[in-house]
């Protein structure tokens, strides 16, 4: 009898604990951003990330024609591209891509582009290679953010900021 009562009390405590656990879990899920609903202007996002990140060279927002000619052949899977980049011999750039069909292909394309650029820069301007190899690449919902900079921490914070985190 006592044992049965004890089991009932233990079960009740376990149930309460489980309920708290579930509720706690739900609470966490509610705090996490739902990136699937993220909707941003890629051009504006690239520009804002560039402004909030430290770069060695002067950064400029590229227009649509420049982006198509320079990136259209390398980043084919993206629906939209926003790019802010440095001129001259600098490899620094911010790429924001919108990919409604999934981000995996775009991430692969961007990584391949940066690997290719690193090969070009290896002899031409070796100081740029670590920036390319250590580029910040983040996926958020249907967007990919890629930042070539020595200020990785600043870039990550800037990406969070434009995503509203």
């Amino acid at each position: 009898m006592k044992i049965t009562k004890f089991k009932r009390i233990a079960a009740a405590i376990a149930a309460v604990a489980a309920a708290f656990g579930i509720m706690a879990g739900c609470g966490e899920n509610n705090d996490a951003p739902d990136w699937s609903k993220l909707d941003i202007d890629v051009t504006q996002a690239a520009s804002e990330i560039a402004k909030a990140t430290k770069f060695d060279a002067e950064m400029v927002d590229l227009d649509a024609d420049q982006i198509t000619m320079s990136y259209g052949g390398d980043i084919r899977s993206a629906d939209e591209l926003g790019v802010t980049a440095a001129g001259g011999a600098s490899a620094e750039r911010v790429i924001v891509a919108k990919c409604s069909g999934g981000t995996a292909d775009t991430v692969s394309e961007i990584k391949a582009l940066f690997t290719d650029l690193a090969g070009t820069y290896a002899e031409y301007a070796p100081e740029e290679v670590p920036k390319l190899n250590g580029a910040v690449i983040v996926e958020r919902g249907s967007y990919v953010f890629a930042v070539v900079t020595s200020d990785a921490e600043g870039a990550a914070a800037a990406i969070d900021a434009v995503c509203g985190k």
């Binding site: 000619m69 052949g73 001129g87 001259g88 011999a89």
Partner: protein, 346 residues
Amino acid sequence: MTYRSHGIRILKLYRSVLAAAAAAAVVAGSSSCAVFADAAVITGRGSVIRKAATFQSSREDSQIAVSPAAVLPSEYSILGEGAPPMLDVIDIEPRETTVDPRTLDPNYKPPYDFSAPVPELAEPVGDDYFDDALFIGDSRTEGMRIYGKKKGYYYSQVAFTIGQVLTKKIIYDPEDDEKKTVIDYVEKYKDVYKKVYMQFGLNECGGSVQWLRTVYEHVLETLRGVLPEGTPIYIQAVLPVTHEAELKSPYGITNEKIDNVNRMLAEMCESGGYYYLAINEPFMDEETGELNASESPDGIHMGGPGVSRQFDYIKSHVVIRDMWDWGDGEAETEPALPSEEIGEGS
């Protein structure tokens, strides 16, 4: 036609007059001082001689002919038999001044001189000049593309070399969904470009200048072959680098080597009929010939202000069709280009 100044008697002015004249000439510009006395005589010797001297001196200072009349007191403006005693008269040997008779025609247009850099315009062209301009080049052209904020077509890449214009696929063509070489892309859209600006030589200046010329000429001839006849091609001189950039260059780039490349480019333009743009000159330190460190963040590539100056130079150094004589029938065979542009010779 030859004008012979028979028995011109130079009237030597007294020191006081000379001093006053020289002082005035200094005001007009030091270069006019040397010919001032010559022009003063002409004032009193008739229109033919005045013309001869005018043409003779116009190479250096077109204001010379009018300086004496404006400077000398009126009583000395006409010098002749009744010259006042304060003037001495001396004789000099007759001399000949050859003048191209066509220069007497107010509508005269000189032939374009491909052996010289593109001369400066009195009034620069506007930014819309670049709307149909094609720029092909290396990272410095990349800087012009990004920092210049000028419309136009920029086919450039970091570490790009002149030979890669024909071989490296750097431009994405959305119509064919593939990357193309610059030459293939230019050929496909050849009617779009009304003038071409080339900027190469920095990435190649560590090697053989003769080899660079061979490759450059081959690329230019290929470009001419695909572009409409008469499309002007400008060759930009290689800009200097800073002293610090010389020291740390892994390719041994020096301003001396850049100068060698630029000499070659000028010769290439003369022999090939291309327009040589001495765009390096405003960026060279007068004493050292180096790029001023303030112009460039990395000692090689221009920042925004430097690129702006590059475009300003280009805008004020355009070959205008109507200013030059292009030879028999050449103008008539010109393709339909905007009226303010020149289309011959390149």
